[in-house]
Amino acid sequence: MIKNISNLGDAALYCDFGTEVNKEINRNVINYFNNLRDSNFLGITNITPSYNKLVISFDLKLTSFAKLKKQVENLELKKNNNPKNNLIKIPVCCAEEFALDIKRLQKLLKINEAKIYETFFSKNYYCYMTGFIAGMPFLGDMDKSLFAKRLETPRVKVPKNSIGITEQFCNIYTFESPGGWNIIGKTPVDIFDNKKNTEPNLINPGDTISFYPISKLEYENKYE
């Protein structure tokens, strides 16, 4: 549940659900997010769920911090309000040219390449949030044996559709972007489709993701 609601400037609520990162807290955040999306409270312009916070932006011409805070505090939560939370399967090609940091990871983690991939592909991952750049999912949790630090010097350009890992998390770079995560492969699937005018993002907060390996040939065929 929400531990505290404070103001983030004069046009947003900052709802604090705790300090740890775990699924239980994040499911609470997403449950509030889904309920608020259905609430039609006047003036809400954006709701941003993250690991353990929920930021609600509003139009200061239409409502205020005090008014909206009261509404959020009195919101009656409908349980299991997560109908859209799906299992999504994402193919990953781990060819050398896409797995930019696999050599570094072998050294850092002291595990061979095959074992890294076996461990990575054996788990399902939960989507804590999407954002930073359009559609980018923040997924977890990784197996402890794969916990790795970020690159000391971030890349200026991480190729679009790269799969990155750091600490307990993995993600997918939906656009070419600067970034410091360890890149282990690339998917031929566009996670954010800027041609689609409804639901352009394949992965939503609360979804479960499983990755599976594909060959270079399969990658090229899918890409066409």
């Binding site: 004069d10 954006n46 709701i47 916070k53 200061l60 205020s64 930073f132 359009a134």
Partner: protein, 315 residues
Amino acid sequence: MNKNYFKVLRPGINSTFQDNGRNNFYHIGIPFSGAMDNRNFILANTISNNEINNPVLEFAYQGPKLKYIGENISINVTGDVNFKIIRKNKNLELSCYENIILENNDCLDILSTNRSVYGYLSIGGTFEVDYYLNSCSTNTKAKIGANSGEKLEKGQIIHLKNIKKILPKNKIEYLNSKIENIRIIKGPHFDYFSKDAIDSFLSDEFNVTKLSDRMGIRLKGPKISNIKNTNIKSEGLVKGVIQITADGDPIIMLSDHGTIGGYPKIGVVISADYDKLVQIPPGSKIKFKEINLKDAETIFKLYEMETQNLISNFK
């Protein structure tokens, strides 16, 4: 069909189509975008007698040079902008905030914004642009919105539609005042910083650097040192949030900002100062002043009344 159009002879530095922006997509990583200086955007559409959310052409520093082909049309420019019309080899010097008639074969040359950043071109009619998720605002990072999510390019054609009859030559008397003191409200990580760091943050000057654009303003000044942690678990951001990077430099998030971030938030710029904040060009110095929420709300009401007065006096 499309007999009225502009041809782009020079695109300018960062010319994009914008409207009021895109709501309710932060959770998938898509920021508001929209015109940076909302008041000047509203005034542009007011003078053109358009719907308040009609697309405008926003430009920064140096604007575009546009050749016009078509029937006579009313246009206006808002902001603090130096521009002219070249008609049959003669230069017509013009002023902002009034309707001007553009004739066939005229060349509209938007030379520069004066000691400010953004200006707006509006027409008595509508730029024919693509919409994406209920807004035409171009976001060049996600490549969405008008012009396939790109800045204007040299040689391209901008089609116009719904051209209105020539509008009366009315003018809004408005002076863009500049500010150096930016008013802020404490952020959720205010206590990550020592008393000395906060004193310095609220009393020293900061330089607006060249690394400033529609996503954010990067500042250089005294280092704001952190006594807790230079990183937090990533969480939602809003327009005007001031994050302190691991290097101790403040960065203010603007309309095209990344939707989540992992640096501590020392403060948030009040809504009433946002339009003026975005207009501060690189090379300027700014200072922060802390106020409380109640005062920020009152100041916003006054700012909004001022905007409404400008609109109603014009009509």
